[in-house]
Amino acid sequence: MQQYSGFGLLKHSLSHHENWQRVWRNPTPKKKYDVIIVGGGGHGLATAYYLAKEHNITNVAVIEKGYLGGGNTARNTTIVRSNYLWDEAAHLYEHAMKLWEGLSQDLNYNVMFSQRGCLNLGHTLQDMRDIERRVNANRLNGIDGEVLDAKQVNEIVPILDCSDNARYPVMGASWQPRAGVARHDAVAWGFARGADMRGVDLIQQTEVTDFIIEDGTVVGVKTDRYGDIKADRVGCVVAGHSSVMAAKAGFELPLESHPLQALVSEPIKPILDTVVMSNHVHGYASQSDKGDLVIGAGIDSYTGYGQRGSYPTIEHTVQAIVEMFPIFSRVRMNRQWGGIVDTCPDACPIISKTPVKNLFFNCGWGTGGFKATPGSGNVFAASLAKGEMHEIAEPFSMFRFHNGALIDEHGAAGVAH
Amino acid sequence: MSDVKNETATVSIMNQLADASIQAQSPLFHADLATVAKSGPKTGGVTFKEEALLGHLTLRLNAENPDQMKAAEKVLGVAVPTQPLTSVTKGDVVVRWIAPDEWLITVPGLKAFEYEAAFQKEMKGHFQVVNVSGGQTIVKLSGKNAKDVIKKSSPADVHDSQFPVGKVVNTPFAKSAVILRRTGENEFELVIRRSFSDYLWLWIQDASREYGLVVEA
């Protein structure tokens, strides 16, 4: 396999970069696999990677109807943090955070994970209570976090309007120094490369049209390009399309797929070094290494698979950004886009067995899936390998919506991200 | 104090007006429009006038029930409009269609209770009349740019072909909501909520600035 390094770059530059190997093969699928992962987004590719790397299960196919990492992985605002309120969620996202730290080296692919810190602003007394509650919980769970007052916030982000003239003055914030951003495409490509070089077949431009289910047990999938492909276990990791796939398997999920929009400014010189989020004013922003301000909007109220939402959502988000950062008034919005996010009633994911034996679903990440990518893939791989849910995944069963053991993270999930 | 007490009364209404010695204060009272009118410009593209302290009644009834419709007509002297988004005017009474089973009626401020009581007397069956006079006020926007100010504030289509005189819609207005009625070629009526009135006053001044705002007391 070819190792990436600065030296490698130099070597290849001498041969005009003509000898770089393919990052991944373009294989024709086998007739049967130990595990088939439906969905070649970040979570699916991470699942395949950890199956191969940590469980030595390499007879694995990832089947993607489009191109690798082309869904929400390609459309999100790349924020990574783990300051969630409830133990179950905190453990899951912190598990992911620990994997993020060192992921570039583990993958030998620079995912440009940048721990520049994340501020969650508080604008009301209740915001501050919730922040205090969350940060206290985080610290007792071993997750870094601080409660800052408005003055401390302003020291970290001088361009933020922390004055009393604001409609909803900044009262303080929670601050997670280890939070940050990463290069979203690179995450998908890095996991794909890592999985491929360990023997996983990545099957692109191939749609899984149905599951093959024999007396309550899944034994494979039907595809549009390669017909039936058998498998002992199938993991479905298709985000916005989870309900569609579940319907093919004969059950419903507690999900609604909503448009989630985001936007970027034109590239400007570095001016915002951290991630700033406000649930109350309803906007958040960070600045990419290219110089774009990457800005998030809330989800649209209706369900939609169109990868686009309604304009007022963009307007309200931009209003929030101008309210928070008045100096951006003359900076210009370059581009907006939308993803399809599968939202759960309790703003927590589903990592779960299903009514169909050997069919596992990993979905419901709503607006916050990117940050969990390595952790999600890691615990899902463990569950698929053993056929039993990993202890961190256990609480995220779809059946919690029957017995009532919900994990309400609306507070921490807040605005879309 | 006159709480309506008769055996059949299943609802409680009362005359909420104090005697004339006590000054009632409309939602825009402390904007002191009278002074603004005196000191402010006399010409401009937009004219602003509050019609303060009218009696506002919300009426709910079943338009399919002829007895209720008759009773309403008897009380108001005019039939409540069943054509969506229309309004009728009879003397100093204006009835605005809000929903198939809801109307906003304005009457002279002193007469609100009279009408309330009359409804309770005349109407049978399932209906509701609620005095909301304290919760809202009416402002009139007129002048050649009145339409422009509305277009800056509301998504409603106020083009002549779509919004004839007499039409009424409940619609967003800036980040509040108003009941918007066209009362003339260049005149619109906004029913605004009390708690939002300062914000809307600020908004309208801002939106009118480029045209020039005339305030009438």
Partner: protein
Amino acid sequence: MFYIYCPYCGEHREEEEFHNHGQAHIERPLDPDSCTDEEWGNYMFFRKNPKGLHHEIWVHAVGCRKFFNVTRDTVTYEIKEVYKMGEQPKVVAK
């Protein structure tokens, strides 16, 4: 941004006047107490969430405050029909 016909006001209005209330035709079990946790959970949380034709509830929130049903394509976002509460859709998935 959608342009939605309100069947009560009798004209199209901007999406900003409406709120979406999710999947339509979900009936509250008549005897909740006799429902199993599973049945009750299904009623509260589990949804069709279809890609394609979808029957959903909207309310003309800043308007006549009436709830009504809409049949909408969740991919093209075309609104195929609007019908009142208690009525059944004419446009249904094949």
